[in-house]
Amino acid sequence: MHGNILRGDAPMTNICFYFQVHQPFRLRKYSLFDIGQNSNYFDDKKNKEIMEKIAKKCYLPTNKILLDLMKKYEGRFKIAFSITGTALEQFSMYAPEVLQSFKKMSDTGCVEFLSETYYHSLSALFDKKEFTQQIQQHTKAMKELFGQKPTVFRNTELIFNNEIAKHIEEMGYKAILAEGADHVLGWRSPNFVYKPKTTKGMKLFLKNYRLSDDIAFRFGNKNWESYPLTPKKYADWISPIMGDTINLFMDYETFGEHQWEDTGIFNFLKQLPYEVFKRKLGFQTPSEMISVQPKDQLDIHNPISWADLERDLSAWLGNKMQWSAMQRIYSMKNSVYESKDEFLIDAWRKLTTSDHFYYMCTKWFNDGDVHKYFNPYDSPYDSFITFMNVLNDIAFRLKIETKQNTQLQTTNKWIKI
C-alpha cells in the first residue's frame, strides 16, 4: 500500500528512527515603547510553562519508554536524536530532569546524536560562516553533554540542496538527511541510500514521508481508513519493503503532544519493537548506514524541506515580511559580533531560530489556519511587528541604523522565493 516493491528472500530492511527535539526561545510582547527602555526580549514565563507542559506530556514519558526498550532489547533497539541548543538550554533552565533522562538513554549506547545548527536557524541559506559556527557550537554541546561527536548532519527543517550537501561534506560529515520529496525522487524509492551529486562520496538518507506521517500526523485520526494503527499492522506494512532502510523521521513531540496519550501512541511505541523483531526486521541508526553503496545520485538544486505539502522554503520565506525580517537580521550580524556584547550576540543568535519566521507565515491564514503549534501570536502581522521591534532595540544598543530596503546579502545566489 505504500508503493514499495515486493521482494523475494533478500535481507530484510531495517528501520531508522530519527526524532527531532526542538523548542525555540519565544519572544514576549515587545512593543515600540520597549525599544531603548529594556532588552527583555524573551518570554521566560511562557517558555517555562510550555517546556514544563511538554516535558510532562512528551519528553519524560517517552524517554522512559525508550529507555526501557533499550534495556529490554539489549542493544538491538536503537534510535537517533537531533536536539537543538535552544531546547538543551531550556531543559537546563526549566526541566533539568529531561536532560538527565536523555543522558541516561545515551549511556545505554543505543542512541546516536545528529549534528545541526545550535539555534535551529536558516543560516545555511544566508550566511555560510554563521552556519558553520552554529554547527560547531552544537557539536561542542553534544560532546560535553553526551560525549559524542556527531558524524551525520541534518539541517533545520531538513532543508537541503546540492550546495548545502557540498558544504557539509567539506566540514567532514559522512552523511546528511533530507526529505524524500516526490518531486526530487520521481520514480525512485526513499528506501535506498543515495549520493548528492555535488559531493565526492557523501551519503544521503531520505525520509519515507508516508510511513513517517502515518505515525506523526495520521495516527490519532479517526477518519483515516487505517485507523486504528496497531503495531502489528504497521510492522506488516514494513516487512515486505525492499531497500536499504526505512527512514522514519519525525518531531519527537509527536509522542504525547501532537498525538495525545489517549490516542494510544505510547502503547504503539512500546509494542512496535516486538512486532518488528518478530518479523526478523531490526533497527539501525544513520551512522551505521554510511558504508552502504548508494543506489544513485540526486541532483537537487532548489532547496527542499520537510514542511507542508510544498516541501519547500515557503513556510519561512513565503512573503515579504519574512524576507524583510530575514534580510535585516543577517545585515546586522557583523555589527552584533563587533560589539563583543555577549548578551546581544546570544540574543541575536536566538533570533535566527526558524520558528520566528514560521510565525510570520501567511500561507493559510486566510482560512484562519495558522501555524498553530505553540504559536504565541494572534497573527503573522503581530509576529513581524514584535520581531522588528526587538531588532530595532538591538540596533539601538549597537547605535546603528537598520536600513530600510537594503538588499539581502546572501552568499548563495540560488535562493529564490
Partner: protein
Amino acid sequence: MNILMFGWEFPPFKTGGLGTACHGLTKGLSRNGAKVTFVMPIAPEGAQSNFVKILGADKFAKKIKIHKINSLLTPYMTSESYETKYNSLNASGKQEVYGKNLYEEVQRFSATSGMIAKQEKHDLIHVHDWMTYQAGINAKKISGKPLIVHIHATEFDRTGGNPNNTISNIEYNGLKEADLVIANSNFTKQNVIQHYKIKPDKIKVVHWGIDETNYGEKYKSPMTQKDKIVLFLGRVTIQKGPDYFIEVAKKVSDNYPNVKFIVAGEGDMLPRMIARSAELGISHKIVFTGFLQGQDVYKAFQTADLYVMPSVSEPFGLVALEALKNNTPILISKQSGVSEVINNALKTDFWDINEMTNKIVNVLKYDELREELRENGSKEVQKFNLDTPAKKCMAIYCEAMHQ
C-alpha cells in the same frame, strides 16, 4: 416569499452603516427570490430601487390623522440630540411639523404599521433595530405573521454602556416578542444574552456581507506625497471611540513624524475632539472632513495607508469590509463583530492606546507589512458577498414560518 420589512434609512439617504446593511440585505434577498416591501418613516424622493418596493410611512400617517410625518427620526439619534434638532427647528419656525420628542416619533411610526400590514401582502415581518420594533409588534398583531427582530446594535453598544432606560425597554420588548432574533455577530448575540437574558437558541447569527462591486482606480491624494495617512471613518460618537483615536494620533506623531490623520464623520463628540487635538498640539496633523458619502468615502479609504476602527463596542463594523474592498489595510478593535470574521487585520483592545500606537507605527514604517496586510486582506474580503447573508436569512424565515 413576501417580506414586510420596517427600517429607517435606505441609500442614498443614510447617516450610517445601517442603510448600507439594509440595502445589501434587500438586494441579496431579492436575488434569492424574496419580495421585499421596505417601510421607512419617510420615503424621500429618489429613494427608489429596482429590487425592493419602498414605502414611506408618512403616506399612511395622513390617514391616521397626524398632519405630517416629516419625521425627525434618524437611526443614531439619542434623545438629547433629538431635542437639540427639535429646538433648532423650533427657532426657525417649523416646530408644528414635528412631534415633541423622539419617542412620540417612534410611536407615530409604529401607529402606521398596522394599516400597512393590512394593506401589504406578506408572509413574514422583519424589523431593524429598536425604533422599528414596536411597528413590527403592531404589524404582527394585525396579520399574525411571524416576527423577525434584527439587532444591529444594542442600546449598550450605542451608549458605551450607559443605556437610556426607555430605549432599552423598547429593545427588550422587541426581542421578547420576536419569533426569532437575528444578531449580526456573536459579539452582538452575547450582548443580547447578557443584557436582555434572551434564550441563546432563539438568536441566530448572520454576519454581514458586502456588495461584490469592485472599486475603481486608486485615488491619489496630494496629501500622500509627503506623509503617511491614518484614517478614522465613522460617526464621531462614544460608541466609535474617536477619543482613543485622537490620543493615539498624538502618540503616533511623536514616534513617526511624517504622518497625517483624517477624521471623517460627524457626531456629538466632534467639537470635543477638535478641542482635544488642539490641546495635544496636533491640530495641524488632523483633518476633520465632516460627513462623507458616495465616492468621497472611497477616496478617503484610498488615500489612507491604514484605516483604524477603535470602536468601544461595534456590533459588526461593515465599514471595515469597505476599507478592505478599497485595498486599505485595517486595524480594528477586538470589541467588534467584524473581528470574528476577518483574519488579515491588526486587532487590539479599543482602550489599549500603546498597543494601537505600536501597530500603527510599524505599519507606517514597514512597506512589507502594509503590503502583506493589503494583499491578504483584500483577498480575504472577496469571500464576502450579499448572497450568503441573504440565504441565511431565508433559512431563518423558513424556520420561523414552520415553528
